[in-house]
Symmetry: C2
Subunit: 284 residues, 2 copies
Amino acid sequence: MLYLIGLGLSNEKDITIAGLEVVRKASRVYLEAYTSILMIEKDKLEEFYGRSIIIADRELVESSSDTILSGAETDDVAILVVGDPFGATTHTDLLLRARALKIPHRTIHNASIMNAIGACGLQLYNFGQTVSMVFFTDTWRPASFYDRVRENREIGLHTLLLLDIKVKEQSLENLIRGRKVYEKPRYMSVAECAQQMLEIESEKGEGAYSENSLAIGVSRLGSENQQFVSGTLKELSTADLGAPLHSLVLLGKRVHELEIDYIREFAMDKGSFNRAFAVEHGTV
Amino acid sequence: MLYLIGLGLSNEKDITIAGLEVVRKASRVYLEAYTSILMIEKDKLEEFYGRSIIIADRELVESSSDTILSGAETDDVAILVVGDPFGATTHTDLLLRARALKIPHRTIHNASIMNAIGACGLQLYNFGQTVSMVFFTDTWRPASFYDRVRENREIGLHTLLLLDIKVKEQSLENLIRGRKVYEKPRYMSVAECAQQMLEIESEKGEGAYSENSLAIGVSRLGSENQQFVSGTLKELSTADLGAPLHSLVLLGKRVHELEIDYIREFAMDKGSFNRAFAVEHGTV
């Protein structure tokens, strides 16, 4: 049996009882290490699970799925995924391959940013499509997120923006020379996301949002020291929410009074929050 | 400390290690029993947790939040919520009340239908707003879901429809007479949802979708006997997906080839699936 097991958001104790039982009895356990990061290290997981785990980087999962699946007709093989196995990546290709090999599979779900974001106080019902924000470079400043955000805003919906993570990246020079030397990991901050959003709005000028649009910066969601900060995009573009991971929620018009009361509590500046709310939503 | 603890989707082993640790040490543990149902009984939970739990029905949570919060300044009080605590209900009012009483709170997240639905094979990124479908009665046939579905469809997005649950309902007569006699629980099926959708489309005639639109029926998501069935709304309106809980996903245009390959595997009729796909999406 192939098991896809969600690890949840923060540390080794976020796995479910059902998940831990499989981890302890499986023949091989892989940890998928490229689409997201858990906030703890591999050796801490191994100690807690009482067994060894194999790091599965992008190369392994994408090009060696048969290695991962080997023996899974008879033995149990588990792949651990930070968050839920069907969060950012659906693992559809791996499951199609398993199906072709007649290997049964089961998923043990867990929280991911896609549902835990409800902890910011906004109803999940009123979120539109989720959007990814990548690090801009000098030559690559993709603005495709903009249209998605506008589509959500036009029908009054909130937008969850998932922020870029660069782990195990090679510089162009090291890539060309075939040197397996990796850059320091980088995690996009709420401030960087807000800056990039404002840059693209000022370039496009279509008014999908403005520097006075209200948003919520979120960091380390699901951990004991998670943080929420609300404010205008301009305010958030200078906010410091500390260590990664960060995400951002841009507010839509569909908000209830209770929700506003809730998110105002963690406003960077309550006066500015109320003024911005009055402009975009009509009342405070 | 007030703890909101998600129980996940299916049985007693879906709680996280962190959640179980709190349940075992808390002074009081409530089980919120009205916004959703777990697929197992209270006594099985109590046996697994090794402690007693208090059922918190709608009355208790809404009108007696101070009873629940009593003592939580110094002791640990836990509220167990099926799925994730920020799924269907945000518990914003309870948290605002806790804040007013200066009671700290923490959430221990878990999977909910809002993220686990990714297991149907469609990318979560391409879902729009989530919609609720209530049981129609002779005199009440609310069609507000229709506009939301249309908004999603117009921008190519999928729609997750959460289906009505009637638990602890009183008949009008028993309600008037003040008799605490409750009707048998009812859970909407995929077939009933598809029928109601088609009824409203034929009434409105705005073409948000049609009887040939493709959808996925989902039952018992997250359990060992979960089931996915894909087909047109017409086909799904006669589908039998067995025991509750059911949900339905109406497809949008944004689908990748791999996703189609994946969901075609559980089509009620592959020929009909391919024909419907060709009509709405242009190619197979």
